[in-house]
């Protein structure tokens, strides 16, 4: 679908400095003061005015694309990077007369996520229409859950290290206001030179979980840690693949600052954040910008700003549909979504037609926090190591697999995993799954070391050889390069004797 016309859909700012001119000279003068607050949650020291300190307040709205075969209300497939408009059902294109049919898998994913985030699951939730005109929203409204969402009142615990020291970790909690099911929109591709917009509806109608966090955070680092923990939880549950780069996890940050004892300040909403690293940057930049703005006697506008990752700053995006009225209305084509628990489950109900919250609860996998505890307990490793293990997809499993296959103590294995293995993977930007060194090979190598057949230095040499992925076993390499430690006393004596014999005259 193409919409032609000059200036069409040109509302979204594309570069830093676009949009409304304002007291936003760029990021540079602020750089040196970019520490908004630290993980202890302290207030930001007063600026040059020397008045009371500032308290930053950060809340997040996170859209997680549900991992499912088909869309939230239609049978079209969900797939990233498919040819444009190849995954579009009549309903997705909003053909007149089509009706939404709720995807059971999406509901289950939302229930799982709600339970994992300690939410109470609403046994009756409702769908609403949120209206606005946009080219990639074919129906002119989005089906969402504005009045009664599927899950409410939860919490998420996350940890972060103080002053960047891994050894000093603190655990914090952010309250989850609600999780709502809603439709994703399509994508608009703006072609400025030809003054047209191309619309791709592949994503239109894909199921989203919007996770709304209360403003319990106070800096970019906290926001980043909370999102990282959420991401891990979603991936553990399988309810979302939660890859930010692919848009499966999209984070909007609400940021404001105020003085202690005063009401919250006017907040801005920062969008266009596409990595966790940028989230921390964007939030900290915005906090700093607001403080400076206020200290220079300015005011904060309730606006939407975009984060420009190249320039490292936020810029006004569009006139925060400030005056936009979404004209919410109940979605008349979907009956209330009713969920059951073991108690309320009607006896004669077809199991295909009901969702049992208790049943899902019993089958929740171990969440990252539990996994970490188990790792610490079972293997005696340090808590911060358990974080590193879980932060890398598949690394904990790799570690456990190595431990199983070797006599080396887990406490020693972890060093090899975190120092040697992980740094190599990071250097070469490869995932655990892509690693040429399998857990079997590493265990083999560590066994040689443990049996004192090679030295630790030799082991590193062997590992370096193993990365080449030439299909050799550690033993092959040891033999090839003659790296064995000599443990046979006679052989040693013979060597010594030979040396002595060869140098009789000296």
């Amino acid at each position: 679908f193409a919409a032609r016309g000059c200036g069409v859909f040109g509302r979204r700012a594309r570069q830093c400095g676009a949009g409304r001119p304002g007291p936003s000279p760029g990021p540079f003068p602020r750089r040196q003061r970019a520490v908004a607050c630290n993980a202890r949650g302290g207030a930001v020291p007063a600026g040059k005015s020397g008045l009371a300190p500032w308290i930053p307040v950060v809340g997040l709205e996170i859209h997680a694309q549900i991992s499912s075969n088909s869309k939230l209300f239609s049978g079209s497939q969900v797939q990233f990077a498919a040819p444009p408009n190849s995954l579009v059902s009549f309903f997705d294109a909003s053909l007149p007369g089509t009706l939404p049919v709720l995807n059971r898998r999406c509901v289950e994913a939302a229930v799982m996520t709600g339970l994992a985030l300690n939410c109470s699951i609403n046994k009756k939730s409702l769908f609403d229409r949120k209206h606005y005109f946009y080219a990639d929203l074919p129906a002119g409204y989005q089906i969402t859950q504005q009045r009664v969402p599927i899950a409410v009142n939860g919490s998420l615990s996350y940890s972060l290290c103080i002053d960047n020291k891994m050894s000093q970790m603190v655990t914090k909690t952010v309250r989850i206001k609600q999780i709502q099911l809603e439709q994703d929109s399509g994508k608009s591709l703006h072609d400025d030179t030809r003054c047209q917009t191309l619309v791709d509806l592949n994503r239109a109608g894909v199921g989203l979980m919007e996770v709304v966090m209360e403003p319990d955070m106070c800096c970019g680092e906290e926001a980043a840690a909370a999102v990282r923990e959420l991401q891990l939880i979603l991936q553990t549950l399988g309810s979302s693949q939660a890859v930010m780069a692919e848009g499966q996890l999209r984070v909007d940050a609400n940021v404001s600052v105020h003085h202690p004892g005063e009401p919250y300040g006017v907040r801005t909403e920062v969008k266009n954040i596409n990595s966790i690293r940028f989230l921390a940057k964007a939030v900290d930049y915005e906090i700093q910008r607001q403080i400076e703005e206020l200290e220079n006697g300015g005011t904060i506008l309730n606006e939407t700003r975009a984060f420009d990752s190249k320039l490292g700053c936020t810029v006004p995006m569009r006139d925060k549909e400030g005056k936009q009225d979404y004209r919410f209305m109940p979605e008349p084509n979907l009956p209330p979504l009713i969920l059951y628990d073991a108690k309320s489950l009607p006896a004669n109900m077809n199991h295909q037609q009901v969702i049992n919250i208790d049943w899902i609860h019993e089958r929740l996998p171990d969440l990252p926090s539990v996994k970490r505890e188990k790792l610490v307990e079972q293997y005696g490793i340090l808590p911060e190591h358990s974080f590193t293990l879980l932060n890398e997809d598949g690394l904990a499993e790799f570690f456990e697999s190595v431990v199983k296959q070797t006599q080396m103590k887990p406490k020693r294995v972890i060093g090899w995993i975190l120092n040697d293995m992980l740094s190599y993977l990071k250097q070469h930007s490869i995932t655990v799954k892509e690693s040429p060194v399998s857990s079997f090979l590493l265990a083999d190598l560590l066994n040689l070391l443990e049996k004192k057949e090679i030295s630790s230095t030799a082991a590193k040499q062997v590992l370096a050889e193993l990365w080449k992925g030439e299909g050799k076993t550690p033993l092959d390499i040891v033999k090839e390069q003659k790296l064995e430690l000599l443990q046979d006393q006679k052989e040693l004596e013979q060597i010594c004797q030979a040396v002595i014999d060869g140098h009789e005259n000296e």
Partner: protein
């Protein structure tokens, strides 16, 4: 077999016995559509596909394997149901030329049972109206305008007033479907009913119009007016035929989440001989302002008919029904505003040439595509949905809707089986008179007796009852309990049999019905 015959006992038998072939039936209907073209009942006539379908049906009969009663039966469908390959316009510039890639569930079900789809019938634009006068293809003319009965009784007031200015409206918004059934161009037609859009034209055109319980028939593929009230309607020439259609259309549709989960058991209607166990409720509020004395008299005559036959006839009260129209106005326009948002010129339908910006393209597309009635409802609906108005209007209207529905629940709980009311305030108005008032005023007046059933989701049926002094049809309405269509239709059938509503006498039909017309004054119903 005559074009006027009932499906179950007569037409189906004639087809099975080979006295008539599906192709012959189809051809007769197509010829009649042509000779009654002036009625403007059809927007699209799908002659080619219809004849092909008839041929396929004929093959099945030859093999002795017809698909059922509806195999080979020519039907028409209101032009707000999607039909794959056949234009679906909603009588709007917005969808002129729009060919849907899929069939509405109801259309598919009829085709699956071997029905022959003759074409798409005229309506008010997007079904917004009560006259079938406000569509982009022009008004539908009531076949009774050309009947011997009307011509004899309506003496032109002045010599200049000829037939051309005397013709009466069909009612609406399913006027095309009602006219199509009434003029014998098809055996049955689909309409839609949101506030009375099936029953109102049925009453004015002297045919049976059934609005089933909300959720009994799939809305998938019906281009919505008010999703929470829309129901596909059935227009036939007798109550038995309506039951046949209902049997093939009702039941769960996985594509419409608001349909009932249970299976629907099709039924044949018994011939009621004893009505003494029936309790008929007469809601006093339906004695509405503007109700013609003629209809009032007919209504009480009908009540007496039941009473004299031994039924219990009680006066009941539905106190909130009088708020139905204002309440409907809010709920209807709100949903209309929402439903019409998709017509932006991008994916389908009309797109304006104005392209200075996306917004101006949207605006021009919608201005050019929708008529004043549709645009007016979109504006009011958006007003009611504004944040500052939502509680005041929309939420309040929903609460009133609940009260209206509860009134019915109470009445039925008190032991009443079926309610008997008039369907319309008067007989059909001449077009020239009808267009003196604007759409909103007329809709408010015309839906007044039918609307509450939609609010409550209840099944209701218009049964043609008698001719007015002007020789035009007048119908009465029965409203039943939720999902109790069988009881409702059984009562309607008994009543139909008592009143012996006369057959329309049309020149055009006489010519095409091989003289059978002459012999069957009123016995055409099975």
């Amino acid at each position: 077999a005559a074009l006027k015959d009932g499906l179950r006992s007569q037409v189906s038998a004639a087809l099975k016995e080979g006295r008539v072939t599906p192709t012959e039936l189809c051809q007769r209907c197509l010829a009649l559509i042509k000779s009654t073209k002036f009625l403007n009942a059809y927007i699209t006539v799908a002659e080619e596909t219809a004849l092909k379908q008839a041929e396929e049906s004929e093959e099945r009969y030859k093999r002795g394997q017809p698909l059922g009663i509806l195999d080979g039966i020519p039907i028409a469908v209101k032009d707000n149901f999607n039909t794959a390959g056949i234009e679906t316009t909603c009588a709007s510039n917005m969808l002129k030329g729009y060919i849907s890639p899929y069939n509405a569930t109801v259309v598919q079900k009829l085709l699956d049972r071997g029905s022959v789809l003759l074409g798409k019938t005229n309506l008010d634009e997007f079904a917004m109206g009560s006259g079938s006068t406000d569509g982009v293809f022009g008004p539908v003319r009531n076949p009774w305008s050309y009947s011997k009965q009307y011509k004899e009784k309506s003496v032109p007031k002045s010599p200049s007033e000829d037939e051309e200015s005397n013709w009466v409206i069909t009612g609406g918004s399913s006027g095309g479907s009602a006219a199509a059934v009434s003029s014998f161009t098809c055996f049955a037609a689909l309409g839609s009913d949101t506030g009375g859009s099936t029953r109102n034209p049925a009453a004015h055109c002297g045919v049976v119009g059934l609005k089933p319980t909300y959720g009994l028939i799939s809305r998938h593929g019906l281009i919505p007016l008010v999703n929470s009230m829309d129901v596909p309607g059935i227009l036939t020439r007798c109550v038995d035929d309506a039951a046949v259609l209902l049997g093939s259309l009702a039941g769960h549709d996985p594509k419409d989440s608001t349909t009932i989960q249970d299976d629907f058991q099709p039924f044949e209607l018994p011939n009621l001989t004893d009505v003494s166990k029936l309790s008929i409720g007469i809601p006093k509020e339906y004695h509405a302002p503007g109700l013609s004395s003629e209809i009032l008299a007919l209504w009480s005559k009908a009540a007496d008919l039941f009473k004299n036959a031994g039924a219990k006839v009680v006066e009941v009260s539905l106190p909130h029904t009088r708020y139905s129209i204002v309440c409907y106005h809010v709920l209807c326009t709100a949903e209309v505003a929402s439903n019409m948002a998709r017509f932006d010129g991008l994916e389908y339908g009309h797109r304006s040439d104005v392209r200075d910006s996306t917004e101006s393209m949207y605006a021009a597309t919608r201005r050019e595509g929708f008529n004043d009635v549709v645009r007016g409802r979109i504006l009011s609906g958006n007003y009611f949905l504004l944040k500052q108005n939502y509680e005041k209007y929309f939420v309040k209207a929903q609460k009133v809707r609940r009260l209206i529905a509860n009134d019915f629940v109470k009445v039925f709980r008190s032991g009443v089986d079926v309610l008997l009311t008039p369907t319309t305030l008067s007989d059909a108005a001449p077009y020239m008179e009808f267009i003196q008032e604007d759409n909103r005023t007329r809709s408010a007046q015309d839906d007044i007796l039918t609307q509450a059933a939609n609010m409550a989701g209840l099944p209701a049926i218009n049964v043609p009852t008698a001719l007015s002094e002007r020789g035009l049809p007048v119908g009465l309405q029965f409203i039943g309990r939720s999902f109790q269509e069988k009881q409702l239709l059984t009562v309607a059938k008994w009543f139909e049999k008592q009143v012996q509503f006369p057959v329309i006498q049309l020149e055009e039909v006489k010519r095409h019905d091989n003289g059978v017309f002459q012999h069957q004054k009123s016995a055409s119903f099975s």
